[in-house]
C-alpha cells in the first residue's frame, strides 16, 4: 500500500496536497450551526439523483408512445423499481428544499460577500442548471401535466419579439411537445445537464476552498489569531474538516435520510405536491388539466410570471420579471454594499427586509401553486377572487423585488446602523 502511494506520488506529486487542501486538511470555522448542513446534503442528493437516475434509464423508454408505460413498468414489474423511482422523484423535490435553505443561509450570513462572490455566482449557475434539469426530468414520465407543463414553459420563449415563434418550434422540434421533444429532453436531462452540473459543483467547491468558509458570525477567521491544537499556522477558530465536520455532517445525513424515508415509504406523492394527480394520466394534447401549474419549486417564479400583466401588446414583461427575479439573487454581492456579513450584527432594516423576502417568496409560491385561488373564495365569499389574488400576488412581487432595491439603497447611502463585529467567533454551545 505504501509502495503504491509512493509510486503515484512520484508521478503526480500534486495529487496528495490537493486532496489535503480540499478534504482532510481543509480548515473550517468551528462555529457552524444547523444552516451549514445543507451544502453537504445537496451533494448527497446529487449523488442520489445520479445513481437512481442510472437505474431508471435501464428500464425507461424514450418514446412518446412508451414513456408512460415504461414508468409504470418500473413501478410494478421491475424489482424494487418503485423504490428507485420514489427515491428519484422525492430526491428532486428535496434537492430544491435543500438548495433553497442553502441559498437562504448564504443571504442571511452574508456568505455571498467579498471575497466569496465567485462562490456565489457559481452557486447561482448551479441553481439555474438545476432548474433546467428538474424541468426536463419532469417532462420524461410523459403524463398529462408533463405535456402541458412543457407546452406552457416552452411557450414562454414565444414572447420574445421576432424570433419567438420560430424559437419555440426549434426547441420542441415539432409544433407541440412530441416525441422529438421528449427525446432531446432525455438527452439533456441524462447526459448534458448532469455533466455541466457536476463541473459547476466541483468549481463551486474549489472556489470555496480557495477563500474558506464563512460562518454564522460572518467573522473572518483567516484574519484572526493563528494557532490551534492541530496546526500552529492555521486560524485559532478553525478546525480540520475531517474528522470534525465529516462526522457532524454524517449526523445531518442520518437525520435527512430519516425524513426522506418517511416521504418515500409513507407519502411518496406528498399529497400531489411531489407527484401530481394529473401526471398519472398519460399525455393528451386534447385534454387540458383543470389547473396547469408547475412543480412546487417553480411556483414562486411562476407566480411572478403570472402576476406581471401584459402591456404594449406583449406578454414578455412577465418572462423578464421571472428571469429577473433569479438574476437579482445573482447580483446580490453588488447590490448589498454593507461591510458586515452576518445578520447577527446587521441593522434592524436588514432583518426586517430579510423577513419580507421570506414572506414574499412563500406567498408567491402559494399564488403560483394555486393555493390562494382556492383559499380566497373561502375566506372572502362574494368578493372578486381574481382581483384579490392579483392584488395579493402583485404586492408580493413588489415586496420580492423591493428587498433588492431596499438593500442597495440601505447600504449604498450608509443608512444601516450595524453592531460591532467581534474579533473572534462567538462560540457555539
Amino acid at each position: 500500500m505504501a509502495n503504491l502511494f509512493d509510486w503515484v506520488n512520484e508521478r503526480a506529486p500534486n495529487l496528495a496536497p490537493t486532496f489535503r487542501k480540499h478534504m482532510t486538511e481543509y480548515y473550517a470555522p468551528k462555529n457552524f450551526n444547523l444552516w451549514y448542513y445543507f451544502g453537504s446534503l445537496a451533494i448527497l442528493v446529487l449523488v442520489n439523483q445520479i445513481v437512481t437516475g442510472i437505474f431508471l434509464t435501464m428500464n425507461y423508454k424514450t418514446s412518446a408512445l412508451e414513456a408512460f408505460n415504461s414508468v409504470e413498468y418500473i413501478m410494478r414489474d421491475v424489482e424494487w423499481g418503485w423504490l428507485i423511482r420514489y427515491m428519484h422523484s422525492t430526491g428532486a423535490s428535496l434537492f430544491f428544499v435543500v438548495v433553497f435553505l442553502h441559498m437562504f443561509r448564504g443571504i442571511m450570513y452574508g456568505s455571498f460577500k467579498r471575497p466569496r462572490e465567485l462562490v456565489w455566482i457559481l452557486g447561482m449557475l448551479i441553481f439555474l442548471v438545476l432548474m433546467a434539469e428538474a424541468f426536463m426530468g419532469y417532462v420524461l414520465p410523459w403524463g398529462n401535466m408533463s405535456f402541458w407543463g412543457a407546452k406552457v414553459i416552452i411557450s414562454l420563449f414565444g414572447t420574445i419579439p421576432y424570433i419567438g415563434p420560430g424559437l419555440v418550434e426549434w426547441i420542441m422540434g415539432d409544433f407541440l411537445p412530441a416525441d422529438a421533444t421528449l427525446n432531446r429532453f432525455f438527452a439533456l436531462h441524462v447526459i448534458a445537464l448532469p455533466l455541466v452540473l457536476l463541473l459547476l459543483v466541483v468549481l463551486h467547491l474549489a472556489a470555496l476552498h480557495e477563500v474558506g468558509s464563512n460562518n454564522p458570525d460572518g467573522v473572518d477567521v483567516k484574519h484572526g489569531p493563528k494557532g490551534n491544537r492541530w496546526d500552529a499556522s492555521k486560524p485559532i477558530d478553525a478546525i480540520p474538516f475531517h474528522p470534525y465536520y465529516t462526522v457532524k455532517d454524517l449526523v445531518g445525513v442520518g437525520f435527512f435520510l430519516l425524513i426522506a424515508a418517511f416521504i418515500i415509504f409513507f407519502a411518496p406523492t406528498f399529497g400531489g405536491w411531489f407527484l401530481e394527480h394529473d401526471n398519472f394520466t398519460p399525455a393528451n394534447n386534447l385534454v387540458t388539466p383543470t389547473h396547469i401549474k408547475p412543480s412546487w419549486y417553480f411556483t414562486p417564479f411562476y407566480a411572478i410570471l403570472r402576476m406581471i400583466p401584459s402591456f404594449f401588446g406583449t406578454a414578455i414583461w412577465g418572462v423578464i420579471g421571472m428571469f429577473g427575479s433569479i438574476l437579482m439573487l445573482a447580483l446580490l454581492p453588488w447590490l448589498d454594499r454593507g461591510e458586515v456579513r452576518s445578520v447577527r450584527f446587521r441593522g434592524m432594516g436588514y432583518r426586517i427586509a430579510l423577513a419580507v423576502l421570506v414572506i414574499s417568496f412563500l406567498s408567491l409560491g402559494a399564488v403560483g401553486a394555486g393555493v390562494t385561488a382556492e383559499l380566497i373564495p373561502e375566506w372572502f365569499p362574494g368578493a372578486d377572487a381574481t382581483t384579490l389574488e392579483n392584488a395579493f400576488g402583485r404586492v408580493m412581487t413588489v415586496a420580492y423585488f423591493g428587498f433588492f432595491i431596499f438593500i442597495w439603497v440601505y447600504t449604498h447611502f450608509g443608512l444601516e446602523k450595524t453592531k460591532p463585529v467581534p474579533e473572534r467567533v462567538t462560540t457555539h454551545d
Partner: protein
C-alpha cells in the same frame, strides 16, 4: 447533551409524523372521505370480486397482471383463474377488457378508460363518491347522470346492488337554475344503503391497490427502514459527540 439531542429529534419527528398523514391521503377535493384501508386484505378481496364481476366488462387494468393480484391479495392461481378471470387471459397476463373499442364509442360516446391508475389520477374519495352518486336522468343518452361527475357517459353498473336513485331538484328561481339538492332511493336494490357503501368502499380500496401495487410492500418495508435510520442517526450522533470533545476542550 444526548438528552437534548433526543428531545430535539423526537420533536422534529413528531411534527413530521403529524403532518405526513395530511399529505399521504390522495383524496379528491371537498368530497366525503372514502375511508379505505389498503392493508385490509379482506376488503381488497371483496373489492377485486366486485371489480371482476361488474367493471371488467368495459374497463381494463392494463398495468395489472392476474398473477400479481393473486400474490398480493393472498389468492391461489386456481381461485383467481376460476373466480376472477372471466376474460380467458393467461395467469401472467394483464387484465384487458373484451369490449370492442368501436362498439364502446357507439354505445357510450367514448371508450371506457383504463382504471389501473384511476385512484392516483382522481383519488379514492372521488371513486367512492362517484359510485354512490348515480341517479336516473331520462335526458341523458344512457338514462343515467351523476352528481359527482355531471353528465358522465357511464350508466350505473351497480344499480342491481344499490337500487335506483332519483334526484330531488330545488325550485328554479330567477337567475338560478334548478340544481340537484339530494338523491333519493326510489327502488331498493339487493343491498341496504349501508352494505352498498361498504361494497363501494371495497371497490375503491381495490383500485387504490391497482394504482400502486407497491403500496403494500413500501409501507411494511418502510417501518424497518425508518427504525434503522433512527438508530443509525443516534449512533452517528454519539460518534460526533465523541470526536467533538477535542474541539470543545480546545477553546
Amino acid at each position: 447533551m444526548i438528552k437534548r439531542y433526543l428531545s430535539a429529534m423526537a420533536l422534529a419527528l413528531g411534527l413530521f409524523v403529524v403532518t405526513v398523514p395530511a399529505f399521504a391521503q390522495e383524496g379528491g377535493e371537498g368530497l366525503p372521505s372514502a375511508g379505505t384501508n389498503v392493508n385490509d386484505r379482506a376488503s381488497l378481496q371483496r373489492g377485486a370480486k366486485l371489480f371482476f364481476n361488474y367493471c371488467v366488462g368495459c374497463h381494463s387494468l392494463k398495468y395489472v397482471r392476474y398473477s400479481r393480484v393473486a400474490s398480493d391479495l393472498g389468492l391461489s392461481e386456481d381461485e383467481v383463474m376460476s373466480n376472477l378471470n372471466f376474460t380467458g387471459a393467461k395467469f401472467g397476463e394483464p387484465v384487458i377488457s373484451h369490449m370492442p373499442a368501436d362498439s364502446a364509442k357507439t354505445w357510450f360516446g367514448k371508450e371506457p378508460p383504463d382504471l389501473s391508475l384511476e385512484a392516483r389520477a382522481k383519488g379514492v374519495d372521488f371513486i367512492f363518491n362517484y359510485l354512490n352518486s348515480f341517479y336516473l336522468d331520462p335526458s341523458r343518452p344512457v338514462g343515467w347522470n351523476n352528481t359527482v361527475f355531471p353528465n358522465a357517459s357511464m350508466p350505473n353498473p351497480l344499480w342491481e346492488l344499490q337500487g335506483l336513485q332519483v334526484a330531488v331538484h330545488s325550485e328554479a328561481t330567477p337567475g338560478h337554475d334548478s340544481v340537484v339538492e339530494k338523491l333519493e332511493l326510489s327502488q331498493p336494490g339487493r343491498m341496504t344503503p349501508e352494505e352498498f357503501k361498504g361494497a363501494t368502499r371495497d371497490l375503491a380500496t381495490f383500485l387504490e391497490y391497482t394504482a400502486e401495487p407497491a403500496v403494500l410492500q413500501r409501507q411494511s418495508v418502510g417501518v424497518w427502514v425508518v427504525l434503522f435510520l433512527a438508530l443509525l442517526t443516534f449512533l452517528l450522533y454519539l460518534v460526533k459527540h465523541e470526536y467533538w470533545k477535542d474541539v470543545h476542550e480546545n477553546h
